[in-house]
């Protein structure tokens, strides 16, 4: 029996497994599955609380403060409320697809965490194609969004889903290209290896890559200012207009689980993941995730939303060329051996390059009609 387990273990290429784990592989699997589900759900509740309270502070109001101390139980109350609500399915909806959509959307958001390290080697599966796996899996959740948009047979939902298609197809490219820079420096696709390689957080080595990844990531998961797939002032709520009750809760969960996932990926790729002094690794990780998420909340409260053609123009005329530049420069630096030897030179040069590129290119971008594609 043990050989088979080892076989499967080899098949999916786990690099490291705690050697003294009692019962071996299956226990590891079970334990981390439970941990990940717990982690995601708790984090989602946490970030919802942070978003609501933080946003309230920025908008000079109080935010939820009645349920529990400091309103901490508000997410719980919301969850109970939404679960008890009636489940309404439109008459003309494609029932099966309408029902499946939240599930299809939710699974990938959870699966991403399988490769995110909470400590050195503390993760479900240290795939050596880790970051590729993340990108691949996160693109699956788009399918769930289409299913929701299509299955609801509502025109707003359809519009929202179509916007989502356009956005995801476009933003995948700068997203992946921004990751490639990190991969070049760390020399591995495994997330754990990437963290191990970060003696200096990659945000310093790859400032432009970080910006690109942050922007493209926000667009991938519909965070403001790129939230126009669910733009409430335009197309009501986009793909989840027709969802209610439990299924709506699922989409709500997906939205924040994806936000947490992207924050976790950013924290892992650019902020040194679980590494940090004094505090235990998992706490560092959580703190970094929350910091990144808070930046997203901040942009959400500050910026208006851009329009669909501007969204596309931003991806193709701004992020895409910038990410190519970033990749090229990083490749040169890696060839010269800077990441291992001249780290400080690389930091200075890369920050300078980022500043110049962003400034010059924004001027150029605005010459291109402020990103407007003439209709």
């Amino acid at each position: 029996m043990a050989t088979i387990e080892l076989n499967i273990y080899n098949l999916v290429n786990f690099q490291s497994i705690p050697p003294d784990w009692p019962g071996g592989f299956w226990w590891h699997w079970l334990f981390f599955t439970v941990v990940i589900i717990g982690f995601v759900l708790t984090m989602v509740m946490g970030v919802i609380y942070i978003e609501r309270r933080g946003m309230a502070r920025m908008q000079s109001r109080l935010g939820p403060n009645r349920t529990g101390p400091f309103g901490l139980l508000q997410p719980v109350a919301d969850a109970i409320k939404v679960l008890l609500k009636e489940n309404i399915v439109p008459d003309a909806a494609d029932k099966l697809i309408h029902w499946l959509a939240p599930v299809v959307a939710f699974a990938p958001a959870l699966m991403i965490f399988a490769v995110v390290p909470f400590g050195n080697g503390v993760l479900l599966a240290d795939l050596n194609v880790g970051i590729l796996y993340v990108v691949a899996i996160s693109s699956v959740s788009t399918v769930g969004i289409f299913m929701a948009g299509w299955g609801s047979s509502n025109k707003y939902s359809l519009l929202g889903a179509m916007r989502n298609v356009a956005a995801v197809v476009s933003y995948e490219i700068p997203l992946v290209l921004a990751i490639v820079g990190v991969v070049l420096i760390s020399g591995s696709l495994s997330l754990n290896q990437m963290v191990v390689a970060q003696d200096v957080p990659f945000i310093l080595l790859q400032p432009l890559g970080f910006l690109l990844f942050f922007a493209a990531g926000c667009a991938e998961i519909n965070r403001s200012p790129f939230d126009l797939m669910e733009a409430d002032s335009e197309i009501v709520a986009g793909f989840h207009t027709e969802y209610s009750g439990m299924k709506f809760a699922m989409f709500y969960l997906v939205e924040y689980a994806e936000a947490v996932a992207i924050s976790a990926i950013i924290a892992t790729l650019f902020l040194g993941g679980w590494r940090g002094p004094i505090l235990p690794p998992w706490l560092w990780f959580v703190v970094k995730v929350i910091i990144v998420f808070f930046a997203m909340v901040w942009t959400r409260t500050t910026l208006p939303r851009i329009r669909i053609d501007q969204l596309m123009a931003f991806a193709w005329k701004f992020l895409f060329p910038m990410s190519l530049f970033n990749l090229f420069i990083t490749a040169l630096q890696v060839l010269a051996g800077w990441p291992t030897e001249l780290v400080w030179a690389m930091i200075i040069v890369n920050f300078a390059v980022m500043a110049i590129l962003v400034l010059v290119w924004s001027k150029l971008f605005f010459k291109l009609g402020r990103g407007r594609i003439e209709v």
Partner: protein, 162 residues
């Protein structure tokens, strides 16, 4: 044994999904089962310990190609009523039968060598070496890239209105 079980499960679901693509009347559902089919193929790659290929399969086929298919479907009117019978039904049937015959004959007549070597543990590096390393296919990769670029440019030129 675990591998065998997973292979059979994947194979069975894969065939059902493939049948769904062909037989489902609702084009949107057919597209969804095509996505399922792609995912199953990715799963089969995993059982063949081709992890990199599996990830790329999901990324490219599920993340991009099927998305475009679905977009095309969404633009189409009245899909939910099902596709009408095509007048090419009979010719298409004949062509499909011929194609199936060719496939079956090829499958039967090809000797399938089974490697006795254990699968390479991380395939990424091996793949990269055989593509870009000494005696690799660097030129072919570059030519493919240029071809794709020209295809993109051609598409842009075609789609651009005067």
């Amino acid at each position: 044994m675990g591998m065998v079980v997973s292979f059979w499960i994947l194979a069975a679901v894969g065939i059902i999904a493939a049948l769904g693509v062909v037989l489902l009347r609702n084009v949107f559902r057919a597209a969804l089962s095509l996505i399922l089919c792609f995912l199953i193929v990715a799963g089969l790659y995993v059982t063949l310990s081709a992890d990199f290929l599996a990830a790329v399969q999901i990324l490219v086929y599920v993340g991009a190609i099927s998305v475009l298919i679905i977009l095309a479907i969404m633009m189409t009117r009245e899909v939910a009523q099902g596709s009408p019978n095509s007048r090419f039904q009979i010719p298409a049937f004949i062509v499909a039968i011929l194609f199936l015959e060719v496939l079956v004959l090829t499958l039967i007549n090809t000797p399938w060598p089974v490697s006795s070597m254990p699968p390479t543990a991380p395939t990424t590096a091996a793949l990269a070496n055989s593509l870009f390393g000494e005696g690799g296919y660097l030129l072919s990769v570059e030519i493919a890239a240029v071809l794709l670029l020209s295809a993109i440019l051609g598409a842009v030129v075609l789609a651009r209105e005067k």
